[in-house]
Each structure stands twice: as C-alpha cells, then as structure tokens.
Symmetry: C2
Subunit: 214 residues, 2 copies
Amino acid sequence: MTAHPTANGSRDGTVLTSPPADAPIDRATAQARRLVEALLRTDRTRGDLAAVADELGRIADQLEAHAPDVSDRLIDMWQGEGVTRHDPVTGPENVLAPPLVIHGRADGSVDATVTLGLPYQGPPGHVHGGVSALLLDHVLGVANAWAGHSGMTAQLSVRYRRPTPLFESLTVRARVEEVDGRKIRTTGEITTANGDACVTVDALFVTAMLPRPR
Amino acid sequence: MTAHPTANGSRDGTVLTSPPADAPIDRATAQARRLVEALLRTDRTRGDLAAVADELGRIADQLEAHAPDVSDRLIDMWQGEGVTRHDPVTGPENVLAPPLVIHGRADGSVDATVTLGLPYQGPPGHVHGGVSALLLDHVLGVANAWAGHSGMTAQLSVRYRRPTPLFESLTVRARVEEVDGRKIRTTGEITTANGDACVTVDALFVTAMLPRPR
C-alpha cells in the first residue's frame, strides 16, 4: 500500500479506495456478499436451508482453523500507510461493505456511486437511515484524506430530507469545507440519479489518529 | 408478528427485537456471520481460498434459483405489524446485523449489549464511527416504539467522545426525551462495561411511516 493521494498533485478521477483485485480472498468475499443478499431473497420454506447452514458452518470452521491470532491479524491488516482493504464501507475483504469505490475530483470533492439492495433496508424499499450515516461518515473521512487533512470523527450531524431508495443508483459525495487548526469541517450528501438530495451531513473531524497495531 | 409492545403495560426486560429462533434460515444466517468474520481473520496466503470462493458461489446460485421476485419478497417481509426479522441491526435473517437484542425497561429506556468484532472495525482495534451511528439510529427507533411514538429519523447528531473498543462488551441505550406534536426527540449512547460513554446521540424523529408493500 502507498500513502494517500491528495487533490494537490493527483489527477481527476483518482480511485481512493482499494483497487478491485482478482485475489482469491476478494473473490470469496464477493461471493459471500451474493450469499448475504440471497439469504434475504430466497424462499424461507424450502427444504435445503438446514443443509446450507451446515455447509456454511463447515466452511467457517475450515477458515477459522487457519486463522492467526487476532493480534497478529491486526498488525497485518494495518501494514503500510495506504487505504484499508477490510473496512465495512469500501473494503474488498469485508462482506459488509457494498463496497463503495470512491473517486477523488480535481475540485477537491470525492464521490462514489452505489446501488444498495435488501441487506441495507430500513423502511420498506428504502435505505436504513443508519446505513446512510455509515456510508457518509466513511466518505467524509476519505474526503479529508484527499484534502490532506486526515482525522477522526468528532461530530456527525445527519439530516434526512427524503427517503433514500434501494435498487437505484445513488451518489455519495463529500468535500472539506474548512480547516481551522486541528478542526476539519466536512460536508456530504447522498443524491439520487436525478439529483434529489436524500441525506445531507455536516461533520467535524479532529486531526488525531489511533496508533496502528505492531 | 404482533403489534409493538410499549413501556405502558409491558414488563421490564421485554425483548423488543425478533426472538432468537432455531429456524433453518436463522441458523444459515448465523453461520454466514461466522463466515464474514472468518474471511477477515483467516490466513490470506492459504491455497484453498479459490475453492472457498467457488463453494460460496455455488451456494448463492442455489439460493438465488429459489428466490421469488423481489416485489413478492418485500410483501412477505413486511407482513404483520411487529418487529422486522431482516433489518441490518437486529435482524436474525440479515448477516450484516451483529445482531442486537434490545430490551425495554420500566423507566421507558431501551438497551442492548453487544460485542463487535473485525467486520465492524474503523480505526485500528476500534468500532467504525459510522457503525456506531447505524446502531444508535436503530436503537433510538426502537426506543420510540417502546414509548408509543414510532417515526422516521429527521436529524441525527452523533458525538464521538472517545474511541469505541472492539472485542469488549458495549451497551447501546436510548430513550425518548420529549414529544411535541409530530416531533419526537430521542437520545442515546454507547458505553463500555465500566460506564465510559464513547458515543452519544441526540436525534429528532417525525411521526410518519412509509407504506408497507402489498
């Protein structure tokens, strides 16, 4: 992994998340994502779900049997200074991540386009408000890095303006508005393809980072 | 499913989320959760990850082949007036959910205890700030129902007071503070076992619900 690219000196459209790869772990994660959705979609009355539970348990056993201590895995995960591959929003190794692919723009903003399915549902047919907050918090953090001012979230104020639809292309966008000493003010929004703002956010970050495990 | 229980007329400790069940779909979902964690934990250099990807893909194919149209599944998911089994925070049928089991208290508050692992990581060894926002948003919504004032999130203000640890027991707590016409003000927090407040939230909900699919 390499250091975070910044708007100052990188080209418009720079990918700021882990590049999609064909590594076996990425492929296994992508198939597990299909499985999460399929478990919500499939007929719950069919006969072979018990067998599916057993098969999944056996695969988990097998993976756990070859897992290093969590302290060793943490050191490995956090090696290098680049973007993570394991976070729950963009990580190609994290099944929970949709995953978002975030681009840096020449005007200093960052954006990602995503379509969310049933696992992310809150109100009927719509995105869970907490999921919108999760995606925005992460994209704001990436906007900070793109502006050269990484930090940790101190305050996140999310406004829900209209329900955010599932099964439609959404754009998550963020930019740094102001830097004052250690304080970074960053805003963002989730919009539909026709430009309606569903969720907006105004957040404060502070330039502090937790130490990486060694 | 039955109507939401409320503090007025239910006993202290009432479980407000879907009761844990031994249904095959719940067991398959629980095993898939183990798999999500195991994929983050396992040795990435081992030889059989490609075979795991193929096996997971085959199981997903099999589940998808028996999936009704998404519009039919949505109707089925939203039948009845009780708690959902598919949401990304408490749903026993949603792999993304830790899942939280939320209890209603006689004093009008609700709480859940949970320990989060690697899939929920943000900063090294700590919970992703957006995940904290997701859990709080949901638990606040359940607090509203317990108080008899269900609504949709209009504004969520989250304050991060100290990093929230992974691998430790956390309590997520919420209560309705004030109801003014259609506006519901609800607060909440995430605390460690020794009582440190890591994240606090102050939110505004409005009494409006999206129609259930039919």
